[in-house]
């Protein structure tokens, strides 16, 4: 195990931020830590990195206990903070070189790594720019370049895409997959389920300081009782067609509100064609129709009774 966290408890006064939190990450994994804002993701990372004191529990990285002075362990860690952590007064190239220099003292050995990180994050054209002159997306990329230039074995990324444009977001996500392909183990926190689904080999869902679900994307979705969801735009004030829909064998619920019909089918079931046939037979006119598989939000909703995004 690259990361082994056991029974971590962290309190801020009366608030329990981490409640018996445990997590393990194997070598070469991209583990997504998914949860709404305030669920304890950043606190878990800070405790893991020995930045925060905690009341109970153990943290082992690369099989050794993590301590503030465990410099041999720290040498193999790269961190990308939630908030951009760079010097405003140093240029892009100087920033990357500075942080890489904290890990690799030899200037000649450092130079190609700095260049590689700048190129990998698409910052080659901005190497002489000061951070204040960069857009939000470029600044996030610089934040990442500073965290990965020394080629760490474990990369911890705490919501690295908050507030960035779609182009930069794609660039960042592709970059993470490349780092993983290069051998790095990645711990990736986010409250964007799409990102986590896109890049993570395993996902841990957090709420109120605990891991409430852990598995691959498919495993988690199988935890949800519901299957496919069908949404239909209907142009009828009469709700008589709903009774027939609810009697269909694969349908577990059917609701209509504000001209939108939402039909949930049982796990593994598919009711799209049946729903449309039923509406036709009832003479209900309909417009847009779309169908979707259950999302991680549905899993979260089913376990906690609330939405991931609503909290964030």
């Amino acid at each position: 195990m690259v990361v082994s966290i056991r029974n971590l408890t962290k309190r801020y006064g009366d608030l329990t931020a981490l409640d018996d939190f445990s997590l393990g990450i194997g070598e070469g994994e991209v583990l997504g830590l998914l949860g709404p804002n305030g669920s304890g993701k950043t606190t878990a990372i800070n405790c893991m990195l020995s930045l925060l004191k905690f009341e109970r529990g153990t943290v082992e990285l690369f099989g050794r206990p993590m301590q503030p002075d465990a410099y041999d362990i720290k040498r193999d860690i790269g961190i990308v903070m939630q908030n951009v952590a760079v010097f405003d007064e140093l240029t892009v190239a100087e920033n990357v070189d500075y942080f890489c220099g904290l890990y690799i003292a030899d200037k000649r050995a450092r130079r190609p790594l700095v260049e590689e990180a700048i190129a990998a994050t698409g910052l080659s054209d901005f190497r002489k720019f000061y951070p204040k002159k960069l857009s939000g997306g470029l600044l996030r990329r610089l934040n990442i370049a500073c965290g990965i230039a020394h080629k760490p074995k474990l990369i911890v990324m705490d919501e690295p895409t908050v507030g960035v444009d779609p182009q930069s977001r794609n660039n960042i996500l592709e970059g993470i997959l490349k780092l993983n392909a290069g051998g790095a183990t990645v711990l990736y926190t986010s409250h964007y389920m799409e990102e986590v689904e896109q890049i993570c080999s395993r996902i841990a869902i957090m709420d109120r300081g605990r891991v409430i679900a852990l598995g691959t994307n498919a495993e988690l979705k199988n935890m949800a009782g519901a299957g496919e969801k069908t949404t239909v735009e209907v142009f009828s004030a009469d709700r008589g067609f709903l009774a027939g829909l609810r009697e269909m064998p694969s349908v577990i619920s059917a609701e209509c509100a504000n001209g939108t019909l939402l039909v949930k089918s049982a796990r593994g079931g598919n009711c799209l064609l049946g729903v449309l046939d039923h509406l036709k037979s009832c003479g209900v006119a309909f417009g847009k129709v779309y169908s979707e598989l259950p999302t991680l939000n549905d899993v979260f909703l089913e376990i906690t009774g609330k939405n991931l995004r609503d909290e964030g």
């Binding site: 801020y12 950043t42 800070n46 990195l49 020995s50 930045l51 925060l52 004191k53 503030p68 002075d69 410099y71 041999d72 720290k74 040498r75 860690i77 961190i79 903070m81 939630q82 908030n83 951009v84 952590a85 760079v86 010097f87 007064e89 140093l90 100087e94 070189d97 500075y98 942080f99 220099g101 904290l102 890990y103 003292a105 500073c146 965290g147």
Partner: protein
């Protein structure tokens, strides 16, 4: 590693506009303001030789005592030198009146049985002439009274004693004291203490609960002490260069004379800067609050120290020294200004050395406490 952190922090500090403004440009602007405001103050306090004209008539030539008195403060037979109080011209009454009208002299002294002074206005020169003549009349009256009451005293040399105008004040400074220098000393002391803000900035870079940058620094495989020492060293170097630039500006551009003890002035500046920086680092390490609160504490304490050392109310320095002497010795601002005062006003170095020793010890204590607090610090919240 030390050099890598040092150079990059130095680069960052030099490029921080706020640092350059508050520690370099602001003191230079203030020094320029002082120079413009107080530039003429020193020259106004210097008294030049005063031109007077004595009406040379039969009455004056009979008045030997007046002639003798004027001779004691001027050289009636030659051109006046820098040390003479009066440059005396002898002229008839009409010429004397014309000279007064044309402003060639500040007053006319005439004698017609009694001494008379004619002036065309009021001012320092006129007051000095009047003061001199009042003194002369008082001495003459005293002598007359002694002759009347105790004629034997003449033989005992009493008259000679009364006429003797020997000064009893010994000059104790290296030169003519220039009071405006004190303003510039205060300015330099303030510049030294302003280094505390840079100290806060450098400490925040290793306090993970205060900035993401510090959190990233803390995750790196570098000892916190090394990180702190190298970035503070960069701050110290920058502040030393800045104080030298301010001093060079004050001395070479504004032409302010700091006396002959330049080396000791530089030593005081350097030690003041170092103590100022470690004052900032200690406050930053000890006050576990936000950056804004740390700055507020440093600025409030600096203002309090400055007030207690007499920067806003000169008497306060003496009040503190008389009533709470310990407070004077633990106040870094007071130690810096007092070191400057001691250099300027005293020939001996004992008072200066006391100040400088206390200041050095204070800086060392600040540095040691900072390291002790920061060492292996983990945080309850970030």
């Amino acid at each position: 590693m030390f050099g890598h952190i040092f150079i990059n922090n130095l680069k960052a500090l030099v490029r921080t506009k706020e640092v350059i403004f508050w520690t370099l440009l602001y003191p230079i602007a203030l020094a320029t303001f002082f120079f413009l405001a107080f530039g003429n103050l020193a020259s106004a306090e210097l008294f030049g030789t005063i031109d007077v004209v004595v009406v040379q008539d039969a009455h004056f030539e009979r008045s030997t005592p007046l002639y003798a008195a004027l001779s004691s403060v001027s050289d009636l037979d030659k051109d006046a030198s820098e040390n003479d109080v009066f440059r005396v011209a002898l002229a008839d009454a009409d010429t004397a009146a014309r000279m007064l009208d044309e402003g060639e002299v500040s007053g006319i002294i005439s004698y017609d049985g009694g001494v008379r002074l004619t002036v065309s206005g009021s001012g320092v020169d006129q007051t000095i002439i009047k003061g001199f003549l009042d003194g002369y009349l008082q001495s003459q009256s005293t002598v007359s009274q002694i002759i009347k009451d105790n004629p034997d005293a003449i033989g005992e040399g009493l008259i000679a004693d009364i006429a003797d105008r020997t000064g009893y004040v010994r000059e104790n400074t290296g030169g003519n004291p220039d009071t405006t220098v004190i303003y510039f000393y205060s300015l330099l002391a303030m510049t030294c203490l302003l280094a505390a803000t840079v100290g806060i900035q450098e400490t925040i870079k290793v306090q993970a609960d205060l900035s993401p940058l510090a959190a990233r620094n803390n995750v790196a495989p570098v000892k916190k002490f090394k990180l702190f020492l190298s970035s503070v060293s960069a701050a110290v170097l920058l502040q030393l260069v800045i104080i030298l630039l301010v001093l060079a500006y004050v001395v070479f551009v504004l032409g302010v004379d700091f006396g002959p003890k330049t080396g000791l002035v530089l030593l005081t500046c350097a030690l003041g800067c170092v103590t100022g920086i470690f004052f900032g680092t200690l406050v930053s390490a000890a006050v576990r609050r936000s950056e804004g609160i740390k700055y507020a504490v440093v600025i409030s304490l600096t203002l309090l120290f400055s007030f207690l050392s007499g920067m806003m109310y000169a008497e306060m320095k003496y009040i503190v020294q008389q009533n709470v002497p310990l407070l004077a010795y633990i106040n870094p601002v007071n130690l810096i200004t007092d070191a400057f005062y001691a250099l300027y006003y005293y020939d001996g170095l004992s008072r200066y050395l006391t100040n400088i020793l206390l200041l050095g010890c204070m800086g060392a204590v600040f540095a040691a406490l900072t390291c002790l607090i920061l060492r292996r610090q983990k945080y309850a919240s970030i």
